[in-house]
Amino acid sequence: MSRLELYSPEGLRVDGRRWNELRRFECRTNTHPHAADGSAYVQQGNSKILCLVKGPMEHGANLAAGTKLDANGPVLSITINYPPFAANDRKKRQKNDRRLQEISIILKRCFMKTIVLKNYSRTVIDISLTVLAMDGGLLACFCNAITLALIDAGISLYDYVSAISIGLFDQTPLLDMNTLEESDLSFVTIGVVGDSDKLNLMLCEDKIPLDKLERLISLGIEGCHRVKQLMDHQMRVAGQELQERQ
């Protein structure tokens, strides 16, 4: 697809959205009550992610041998499972794929700033992410799924972290990119803490002119706040259901 078709002169993107519109966002929590302590399912457009959280516990199953427990906070272990069928074209990925390892480190850093560390000294929190279908926004989906699964596991957080990707088409920032747009445009992923303007996560793997970056981030923050609202709504619905069951 040529670069010009990604944003029509009328202001429509390939999937019919405007520049500042999110894709359909759906989330569920406690999807796997028997398999893990906390679980969440996040769907952004055609991207579908599952997240299972085990912990806090004394020692994790997936922890590398020799990892020492930390007296000041939990040891987060994040494993990413990217099965070959998740992308549009079937492609086998190595378990130690470098890009995925980098993403897991970024997520770890982000959530070490979000979890109330002092409550979980000398524990392990095991987070496993599974990509069921990927259509852009990998890191953003991961971040949103982990936030929800941690809440479901009852782990204390300072606030929600909601993430979104924003791309740049010529002069126009585009919110919540899909695969087609991601492959042709440069984009940045940001994660925002709650309703504040504080960024806990930011990743940019392409070149973006410095004078455009501010506009991208301010659009991203707006998008993140909307995502946070949607997640919060779902959590409240889930809480209500829990209350009614008792």
């Binding site: 989330c27 499972n81 099965p83 070959p84």
Partner: protein, 292 residues
């Protein structure tokens, strides 16, 4: 759960006794409850999710690709991935090979045929989301997942949809690449309703004394003398009929009579299981996340 010697002996005695008393009070031919859903992954031609009450979940996807080949045995590729296990672990490789062989041996290649030269290549990818937490220090193995995986692949293959072929099916004289309709509404089923063919289902049967039990639970696996997996397709017993190690403890040999009992059991339950799976297939799926 790690069982003590006394517990093992108690379970063994009750299983091998006349009435086959099982720990969860099931009958010898009764499955544990399962839940399943189909067609929820938009990127795949067919997909399914099968999960049990104890948290084991199997997600299966089927992807199709057009290839030019004469080698029909390579048209089906199976890959099993288990959470926490390496890709090249014996368990993953054995399960992939077993399922692949059982599918390849009992497949109707006519349904994969596009033209005289072109075929659909089918990739079946299986993902086991979580395994029991005490797996590493208990004496059961996870080969019993085979029955869950085979049900998953049955559902995924049956729910598999392929785009409608618009070009001619005869390219013997004129070289022509197959082309397909753009409209996904016109998609056809991989296995048409008119076809007699059904993908193979593999059942795991536990042998204890002269008794046979279907779908042994993890507790039961630790006391079983042996296990066999038996294929079932369209009312018949089909290969593989193979013994599988359900526990790391040495088993005992079994006689022909017990094996005959096991195949009889599979023949008896094959039909109801197929019907139950077909009922799941006919359920409408809302693609917006109601699966989870």
């Amino acid at each position: 759960m790690v069982l003590s010697t006394a517990e093992k002996s108690y379970i063994y005695e009750s299983l091998s006794g006349e009435n086959t008393l099982r720990t969860d009070s099931r009958k010898y031919n009764e499955f544990r409850p399962l839940k399943a859903a189909c067609s929820f992954v938009p990127n795949c031609n067919g997909s399914s999710r099968v999960y049990t009450a104890d948290g084991i979940e199997c997600i299966t996807s089927v992807k199709a690709k057009v290839v030019k080949t004469k080698d029909l045995a390579n048209l089906i590729a199976v890959e099993v991935d288990i959470e926490g296990q390496r890709d090249n672990s014996a368990l993953c490789l054995d399960l992939s090979a077993l399922l692949q062989r059982s599918l390849v041996n009992n497949f109707d290649y006519e349904i994969l045929r596009l033209t005289d030269k072109y075929y659909f290549q089918i990739y079946v990818d299986v993902l086991i989301l979580s395994v029991p937490g005490d797996f590493k220090n208990s004496s059961y193995t996870l080969y019993s997942l085979l029955s869950l995986i085979s049900m998953g692949s049955y559902l995924a293959l049956k729910s598999c949809k392929l785009p409608l072929l618009t070009s001619t099916t005869n390219d013997r004289e004129i070289e022509e690449e197959p082309s397909f309709a753009d409209d996904w509404e016109l998609a056809t089923d991989l296995i048409p309703e008119s076809s007699e063919f059904q993908p193979v289902l593999v059942f795991v049967v536990g042998l204890v004394g002269s008794n046979v039990i279907i779908d042994p639970s993890l507790d039961e696996e630790q006391v079983l003398e042996n296990g066999v997996c038996i294929g079932y397709s369209q009312g018949n017993i089909v290969p593989p009929i193979q013994s599988v190690a359900l526990s790391t403890v040495d088993g005992k040999p079994f006689d022909r009579k017990t094996l005959a009992k096991a195949t009889g059991l599979v023949k008896e339950i094959g039909q109801p299981v197929t019907q139950a799976l077909d009922a799941i297939l006919s359920e409408e799926v809302d693609e917006y996340g109601s699966v989870f």
